[in-house]
Subunit: 89 residues, 14 copies
Amino acid sequence: MDMLTAKTIILAASALGAGLAMIAGLGPGIGEGYAAGKAVESVARQPEARGDIISTMVMGQAISESTGIYSLVIALILLYANPFLSKLG
Amino acid sequence: MDMLTAKTIILAASALGAGLAMIAGLGPGIGEGYAAGKAVESVARQPEARGDIISTMVMGQAISESTGIYSLVIALILLYANPFLSKLG
Amino acid sequence: MDMLTAKTIILAASALGAGLAMIAGLGPGIGEGYAAGKAVESVARQPEARGDIISTMVMGQAISESTGIYSLVIALILLYANPFLSKLG
Amino acid sequence: MDMLTAKTIILAASALGAGLAMIAGLGPGIGEGYAAGKAVESVARQPEARGDIISTMVMGQAISESTGIYSLVIALILLYANPFLSKLG
Amino acid sequence: MDMLTAKTIILAASALGAGLAMIAGLGPGIGEGYAAGKAVESVARQPEARGDIISTMVMGQAISESTGIYSLVIALILLYANPFLSKLG
Amino acid sequence: MDMLTAKTIILAASALGAGLAMIAGLGPGIGEGYAAGKAVESVARQPEARGDIISTMVMGQAISESTGIYSLVIALILLYANPFLSKLG
Amino acid sequence: MDMLTAKTIILAASALGAGLAMIAGLGPGIGEGYAAGKAVESVARQPEARGDIISTMVMGQAISESTGIYSLVIALILLYANPFLSKLG
Amino acid sequence: MDMLTAKTIILAASALGAGLAMIAGLGPGIGEGYAAGKAVESVARQPEARGDIISTMVMGQAISESTGIYSLVIALILLYANPFLSKLG
Amino acid sequence: MDMLTAKTIILAASALGAGLAMIAGLGPGIGEGYAAGKAVESVARQPEARGDIISTMVMGQAISESTGIYSLVIALILLYANPFLSKLG
Amino acid sequence: MDMLTAKTIILAASALGAGLAMIAGLGPGIGEGYAAGKAVESVARQPEARGDIISTMVMGQAISESTGIYSLVIALILLYANPFLSKLG
Amino acid sequence: MDMLTAKTIILAASALGAGLAMIAGLGPGIGEGYAAGKAVESVARQPEARGDIISTMVMGQAISESTGIYSLVIALILLYANPFLSKLG
Amino acid sequence: MDMLTAKTIILAASALGAGLAMIAGLGPGIGEGYAAGKAVESVARQPEARGDIISTMVMGQAISESTGIYSLVIALILLYANPFLSKLG
Amino acid sequence: MDMLTAKTIILAASALGAGLAMIAGLGPGIGEGYAAGKAVESVARQPEARGDIISTMVMGQAISESTGIYSLVIALILLYANPFLSKLG
Amino acid sequence: MDMLTAKTIILAASALGAGLAMIAGLGPGIGEGYAAGKAVESVARQPEARGDIISTMVMGQAISESTGIYSLVIALILLYANPFLSKLG
């Protein structure tokens, strides 16, 4: 196998792996939407606590977001800093 | 393997990977729709808090949207700035 | 591999990738339908707030729609402005 | 690969891609049915608000319909205005 | 590849694509059944509003039906007016 | 490829496509059963409205049935009036 | 391809297609069981309305059954009156 | 292809098709269990209506059973009265 | 193809088909467990109706069991009385 | 095909079929757990009915267990009393 | 086929079959967790019935565990007492 | 087939089988989390019963854990004490 | 087969098996999030029991975590202490 | 097989395995979003307990996050510290 073939197969697998990893993003999407709905409901009931509600929501969503960000990180590494290629050499 | 074959395989895998990544978009779609439904319900009950409700909804949805945007970003990179090709050279 | 074969494989993968990407559209469809149901319920209870309810629903649905639109964008790019082909040259 | 083979593979992939894209239609079907059920319930409770309820339902459903229409658009383009073929030439 | 082989592959893919597209029909089936159940419940409670309830149900179901009809349209086009064949010529 | 092979492949794909299309029938089955359950419940509570309840149920189920019928239609066309064969000639 | 091979492939695909089509039967099974459960509950509460309840249940289940019957019809046609074979001739 | 090979392929596909068809049996299993649970609950509340409850349950379950029986019928035909073989002759 | 090969392929497909058919058993498992739970709850509330409750539960579960038994029957036929082999002769 | 190859293929398919059949065991696992939960709840409320509750639970679970046992039986037959092998002779 | 190849194929299929069978373990995991949650809730409400509650929970869970144990048994047989090998001889 | 090839195929299948078996771990994860949530809720309501609640939770979770442990056991055997290899000799 | 090929196939299968095993992690993620939500709710209602609530939550989550840790352990063994390789020798 | 081919296959499998492992991230995303929603609701009701609520939420989410982090760890090891390659030598 020549070097070009090797790189091609690894990069094609990286593209598919990046696509698979991004699917995890549907979990935070559902969860954070639930949090947003609860925040909207709460703001309507206690408008005076609006600041507290929104800051809690944003903090909670930010942490929920993390697995989505992990997937993004893995995908970006696969795309831009693909560490596999340097291992072929 | 010649360079054209290599590029072809990588780009075909990129097209499939981009399609897989976009599937994550069904999560934010469900979650944000839940938030929208809660906002509609709340506006009907407290029309005087309409501004607060809508701004909370938009903020909550915007954050929920993020994993959908990550997928879009990965797909656009795969399409337009495909970093894999430069690694073949 | 000749240029025609290369283009064929990439375009066939693009057609399948576009189809996969569109599947994400089932998420916003469910979510926005929930919002529409809540709006209908609310209008019946507070007909006097009809304007507020509908404008909130439309705004909430428009944002929920976004991941569906991202998928449409990716599919249209794959179809009409397929950036992969220019990379073969 | 001759031109006929190329066209055949692309068009076959387009047919499968169009079928995959249409699957998204199950989301709006569920969501809009929920909205219709809520409208029926509301009309029975407030028959005097019938006009408002139905117009809200139709507007909400019309927007929920959009991702289904996007899929239809992509499928129709793949069928009738298949942009891939012109790229082979 | 001769013309007969080309047509065969495209038509076989069209048959599978049409079958895939029809699967979307399970969404409207669930959604409209929910609306029908709500209508039945409402008619029993307010028999005097029977006309309004049924006309609302039919209108709501008719719109929910649309993505099922889109799938039918795509399948019928693939079967009867298969636009792919004219592109081979 | 001879004509017999072509017909064989198309008809085999049609048989699989017809089977896939029929799967959509599980949606109306669930939805209409929900409507039937609601009708039974309502008849027990308001036996005097029995006529109205049953006619509403039948009408609602008949419309919900439609996507199941679309699938049946597509399957029957694939079986009996397979339009693909005439296109081979 | 000889005629025996052609028939074999078509009949094997028909057997698989019939099996796929029958899977739709799980939908009516769940839906009608829901209706039966509601009927049982109602009979216990209003034993005097037993006739009405059971006749409503049977009618509702009979209609819900229809997509299951469609699948049976398609499977039986594939098995006994396989229209594909006459098209080979 | 000789006759033995033809029979072998058809019978192997029939065995797989029969297995697929039987999967539909999970639907009636869930639905009838729901009905049984409701009957148990009702008998405990109105022991004097025990006869009515059980006869309603059995009737409702018997009808729900039908799609499971359809699957059994198709599987038994595929096993014992396989109509495909007579078509090879 | 010699007779041994034919038998081998059919028996291997029968083993897989029997395994697929048994999967249906998860439906009755869930449904009957629901019925058992309701019976336990009811016995605790009306210990004096214990006989009626348990006999109702057993009868309801026995009928729910039927699709599981159908699967068992098909699997046992495939294993012990495999009717396919006699058709090869 | 020699006898050893035939036995190998049948036994490998039997191993996979046994694995598939055991998957059905997740249904009784969920259902019986529901029954156990209800029994625990009931014992806490009516400790004096403990004997009745537990005997009802065990009876209900034992019947729910049956489809899991069917799967075990089929798997054990495939493993120990594999009837397929005697049919090769 | 030599004996080593035969053993290899059977043992590889056994490894995959054992893995498939263990998947059933997710059912008891969910069901017993539900029972545990109910026990915790009940102990908090009636601490005096703690002994009865825990013994009921353990008995209920032990029975629910059974399908998980069946899977374990099948997997262990496939691993340690693989009966297939003795059949090759 | 030489001994090295045989070992390779068996060990590769063992690695995949171990991965499949571990998937069962998602069931106990969901179930025990439910129990933990109930324990937290109960401790807040009856802090004086904290000891009883936690010991019940731990006992309930420990039993729920068992199918996850079975999977771990099977995976560890496949990895460390792979009994298949000794059978090749 | 040479030793390098053997190692390659085993290590590639180990990489896929490790990925499959990690999927189990979605179960504890959902379950522990439920426990966290209940803890948050309880702390808000009984802030004075904060210590008890959090220690209960952490203990419950720690146990729920276990199947996720098992998966991690299996994956790490596959990666770092791959016991398969020593068996090739 | 030469060393380059070996490395290529292992690295391609690692890329796919990393993508599979990241899918687990959808579980914590849903679970933590539930916790965030509960925190938002609680802050609105007891703004005075805001500190306690948020610290509980963060602690609960941090532990729920763990299986997502395990997946990230496995993926990063597969990418950067791929231990498989050193085993080839």
